[in-house]
Symmetry: C2
Subunit: 368 residues, 2 copies
């Protein structure tokens, strides 16, 4: 029997780590960081050939809805699910599952973050197909684990147990952003990076939410009753308001914390080790590592001259020139109203800068 | 007898060392680098109270004439002498001397670069008065020498000999931009920084040019014949064209090389040691040393946040924000069309950058 597979792209993120390029109105997934296409567009283009455009859904938040529809005109109008406000991944995935229930209760769904990068699209497709098969046959929550390249402290890790019959492994636990030494130990014990990619039957996901996250399940029940009246991707204003009321009551919680950890302990989570070249493109430093480099390790976009400089990343606004002299390991990001100059190895501190800017009365440069 | 003293401000410089703030159309002397006034305006305001505005002349070049007149509306219209093209300091000073000859052949003139900084205006006035006195009584070319603070390799040095009766010293030679070791030796032997400030009778200057730089003198003779028809500060188009023809033939040579060195060997140059706090504001690094600093040694103008950063200099354009994270010893200059990010200790290399920009096809960012 041919299975109906849907891709759900989680595109509600805000993210300030790419300031001044990223702003609340122009979050990371909307940026053209690596190619001439935005990250969300790259994500859609990666899965649409696999499942068909009609089977690609995007979950976004109200304030980004218009921009997202403009960015992804190839998707059916009703495939945009709009969260009234961001409540982390558990409600987001639950909302999509409720919508899919109305389309095909037997469907399998692949849930993908909108703002990650995958370099080998063919391997990605093969891995996803294996995960779909696994999810359908074993009624399991299937995560994709990435073989770690180094002890990254900014990622989550998947702890793996014994090999499942199918070539996958059972997941025994999750560790979020471990300190360096712990990350090293985890890698020695065979832990994988958590890609945030989840494949499962819609029914399996909803059952797991009901079992492990009853407060989320309660909110979803109310949303299901709205979905019975009108498709969630095409709510009239009145039902939008009803959805907002339900969402306000919803707890803000991640799927890993609310569901996956507990389901893992109960032996219901499997992981497939993937090696399709993955990055969460977490900050300027990660981006620099992924971009093609010129001599001396410089990279960037726009009019720029990295004179006698090494390992620098430069973004310049249209028609403007950025010139470097004698710089190393520096990221320079020029936008129409602000310029960032940072030690690229300290890219994580940009979130602290954002707070400092507010304190100093420069909040308007980060607020819109 | 009351002496008629004139100040001649040499404001024809181009200078690319403050790129991207300085451009051919907006040279260093027109920039507000240290205060809310441009350097040339500061220079005029320093000498006008001493000699009266009518006795302050500005020598500029054709392309800057309009901007200069706009910048200095307090000066009489005929006090702007316009060189058709820049030919270094000997023709510039000669041109001013020829003009002054028509005003008062007995005058003493103080020649000042337009783009230097002097921190103690009262000491400056006292030193200048002493120099005028010395120049008038001894018929000498009087230079002001600055006691060196460190072995700067970007300055010229004045070699001094025995003390003249008046408290000044005889000058025995000039050294232009010595290497570090030589600069140290010069300082041990009592050499002074050459401030480029020259005080002498107009007649003394012209006689020295005739004697030591006959090719310059020849050009000046032709200009004198023009000056006999019309004041040099108010030439009609036809005479402007004649001046241009003469200037084209003029050698491009500095007063130090063409006149001062030879006159020094002949015992006609004196120097007064000055300590009025002087800098030629030669590049971003020199500027940073002179500006008032915030905690951590940061300085600058405009909207800027030097977050967890040290010893940085930041200029931002109006309404734009420049934010630094984890930077040290960095100069960031944001202008409407270009941004410079440089290791401030390598500010001298900006002239090399300018050439590189032309090679890379970005000449339009340095050309206007």
């Amino acid at each position: 029997m041919k299975r109906n597979v849907f891709a759900v792209i989680m595109a509600g993120g805000r993210g300030t780590r790419f300031w001044p390029l990223s702003r609340p109105q122009r979050p990371k997934q909307m940026l053209k960081l690596l190619t001439s296409k935005s990250l969300v567009r790259e994500t859609v283009d990666r899965v649409a050939p696999l499942y068909g455009r009609r089977n690609v859904l995007v979950v976004t938040v109200g304030e980004h809805e218009r921009a997202m529809r403009r960015e992804l005109p190839m998707l059916p109008k009703t495939n945009f699910l709009v969260e009234p406000l961001g409540k982390n991944t558990a409600p987001c995935i639950g909302l999509a599952a409720v919508d899919l229930l109305g389309r095909d209760p037997d469907a399998v769904v692949a849930v993908l973050p909108a703002d990650h990068w995958i370099s080998d699209a063919r391997r990605f497709a093969r891995t996803l197909a294996a995960a779909v098969d696994l999810a359908a046959r074993h009624d399991a929550l299937v995560t994709l684990g990435i073989r770690p390249e180094y002890p990254e402290t900014g990622y989550g890790y998947i702890l793996t147990g014994k090999r499942a019959a199918t070539g996958a492994r059972r997941v025994t636990g999750f560790v979020e952003k471990p300190p360096l030494e712990k990350a090293r130990r985890l890698i020695r014990r065979g832990a994988l990076w958590n890609s945030g990619l989840l494949v499962a039957r819609v029914a399996t996901i909803l059952a797991a939410i009901r079992r492990y996250a009853p407060d989320v399940a309660k909110g979803l029940e109310a949303i299901e009753s709205i979905a019975r009246v009108r498709r969630l991707g095409a709510l009239p204003p009145k039902l939008r308001a009803a959805l907002r009321r339900e969402y306000k009551k919803m707890p803000s919680v991640s799927i890993d914390y609310a569901v996956m950890e507990k389901a893992g302990s109960a032996g219901q989570v499997l992981t497939l080790e993937a090696d399709f070249g993955w990055s969460d493109v977490g900050n300027w430093d990660a981006l620099h590592r992924m971009l093609p480099k010129e001599a001396d390790g410089n990279a960037g976009i726009g009019r720029r001259v990295a004179f006698r400089s090494k390992n620098c990343l430069v973004y310049s606004s249209p028609r403007r020139l950025v010139a470097l002299v004698g710089m190393e390991n520096t990221v320079v990001v020029d936008t129409p109203d602000a310029v960032l100059v940072a030690d690229i190895r300290r890219s994580q501190e940009i979130k602290d800068l954002i707070e400092e800017l507010s304190r100093r009365g420069y909040g308007k440069y980060t607020a819109k």
